[in-house]
Symmetry: none
Subunit: 211 residues, 4 copies
DNA sequence: GATGAATGAGATTTCATTCAT
DNA sequence: AATGAATGAAATCTCATTCAT
């Protein structure tokens, strides 16, 4: 369990929001993201979150003005951290678009499977959330996607990739990467590493189709 | 004492038998599946369901002994119908494994996008459901998967497909097909038909990889 | 319009013994008495009763106009049968008041323990029952008590018994006899017969006190 | 990950710990015991309890995680207090086992009649309560009984009492004492004191039988 | 005589939220 | 910063009762 070896970067790389800088907040956010991911947003009560942190329900309201706020912030934090890791990886990975894309997919699935199983649930945002919150979350997805899209476009431009519909390819890729942790959860822990690599290899086929 | 003929073992006379599959039940199941798919299982109250059917919520308990039961039954019905349609299609589609697989994917995505948008939600079964219900739902998935797996295996045997890990390919395929309705929901209705075809084409790449 | 159907008097449930009519009614009454005794009046739903009889809830309303009616009738039946057995016994048992009283107690406790465990629950009549029903049930108790009271009075008159307060003695006796099945339920079946005899012996002390 | 120090074994974070025995809890327990005793456990809704305390029913769940929990706790409190009073009395009452037993019975019946009419109802524990709760309640009974049993044994040892079956005697005694408040409830208030004394005198016969 | 269907009132339970301290 | 207490709305579920067939 609780394996993610927390990226202890100094302050969040993105001075994204006015997020108060306590480490307490980070603890709450982590616990919340974990729980929401595990059981789904609706199924997790604030008491669950509080209990895991060993504080009382009410005290969460000191940091967040509502459950939705907490939910949004948790997803945002997760997304930020996630994107940051992907960006860092890209910075360290030279080579052709193909090589870099494969590495990116591999890292993404790895994060999902090892550190955020069931994050998929998190992105199934409740319909009734206010538009502003929904937008914030979609923004995350976009930044995320851009990383992949850029590489795919480079590969197409260089003739390395052949793709009919870039949007479709990206959507399929994302879907598969998001679900991966769910089916991998049923694999013995030892087999997961290999599964992650297989997913990366398999998904590369999406950009190398020969018509 | 006197006359009662049967030994009623457990004091709590709960076990509600599978009721007849009358027309009414089907109506309830349909309404429920629709709503659960639209907004997620947790977000739909029995009152919502009852309202859509124009009955009182209590009366749902005549047919189902709990919300979970209703949920499971709704998924099951959906899955059965879905599989039946896929099987029917396969029966009518001759040709190579490749041609038939493409048709199968196309049909599957088509059903998802046009008839059961957001069915994905339905299959994200609440963790806390009793094991028996979870098993029932996994069974559905298995039957479903078998259709695809058989074709893929045929294609491999005939040399038409090249696949590294058949399990991984099937999982990725399924993930993409399940999510399709979610992103298609944002497309203008006119564009969806084309999107479905594109998904089918794109996913075929997963079995035609040339190393 | 009014007078015509006066002739039709569907068996008015008011009349004390419309009961011999139909062995079906007896079956219902037996099942109900048993269940009410086992788990308490409130905890037994009409569905429980119906289920044990393998009919539907609604059909009970053909025989009884309400749950309370059924409850009252069940108690009444039980009480009548019980009293009848006691009277029969007395008719067959000659001897001194002491011998006869002991036999009576023995029989009463025996019925309770062997045939109607937990009948005690039945006599804890819900407070909110209409006065008329409560009266009917008190009437039962009185008939019952009279059997004991008569014998005790005879014993006092003959000098065989010494009793300070006859009312108190009868109440204590009754209390102990009613509870007996509850504690005997925890005894191994083989030991119950002996326990019944011991209760009878013990309770005789209540009328044989020497000041 | 960060801070959660404990391995929270079962996902459902239900286990509500025994809360502090503040004054408020006592108020709730008293109100509940009173109501349950008056009308029977099943017939008392949490709203009744809340109403009497002038709070909302939801707030009871801050203290107790279910109605059963509240029920058990109420009985337990009642039983504890009751036993304590009996023990205190014994501490203050010198004399032969006979004198002390009579005082004990008198006190017990007095408490029942004057302070907890219908406590009997409380001890008719619903069958469907979880075994653990049933055990807790049986434990109470045992502590209670021990007080009486010890005295009876002393009396036998000293030759003051003659008893065939000590278990049976204790059970009968207990039954009579428990029911006393029910029949006394119908007496005019003025007569109750005398009735209590009579019960005590009458029950003493159970240990003084001369064969 | 009996059933299947439905209702409506009320019960238990959950939970986001507020607030005084 | 945090807690304990409480609230109120809504959700799940139960059940006696009715009624057309």
């Amino acid at each position: 369990m609780g394996t993610q070896q927390a990226v202890h970067d100094p302050p969040p790389p993105s001075a994204r929001v006015q997020r108060k800088r306590g480490k307490r907040i980070q603890e709450i956010l982590n616990a919340a993201a974990e729980l929401f991911g595990e059981r789904g947003y609706d199924a997790v009560s604030l008491e669950h979150v509080a209990e895991r942190l060993d504080v009382t329900k009410g005290s969460l309201y000191y940091y967040f003005s509502s459950k939705d706020e907490l939910g949004t912030a948790a997803i945002e934090t997760l997304g930020d951290e996630w994107t940051a890791r992907l960006e860092r990886l890209l910075g360290q990975t030279p080579g052709t678009p193909g090589a870099r894309l494969r590495a990116l997919i591999h890292e993404h699935v790895g994060i999902a499977v090892h550190d955020h199983p069931a994050a998929l649930r998190l992105f199934l945002v409740p319909r009734e959330w206010p538009a502003e919150q929904r937008e914030r979350i979609k923004g995350l997805r976009r930044r995320h996607d851009t990383l992949f899209r850029t590489l795919v476009e480079e590969g197409i431009a260089s003739g390395e990739f052949t793709v009919t519909s870039i949007d479709t390819v990206l959507q399929c890729m994302h879907a598969a990467m998001s679900q991966a942790p769910i089916w991998c959860a049923e694999l013995p822990a030892a087999a997961r590493k290999k599964a992650v690599a297989e997913v990366a290899d398999t998904l590369m086929a999406l950009v190398r189709s020969a018509p």
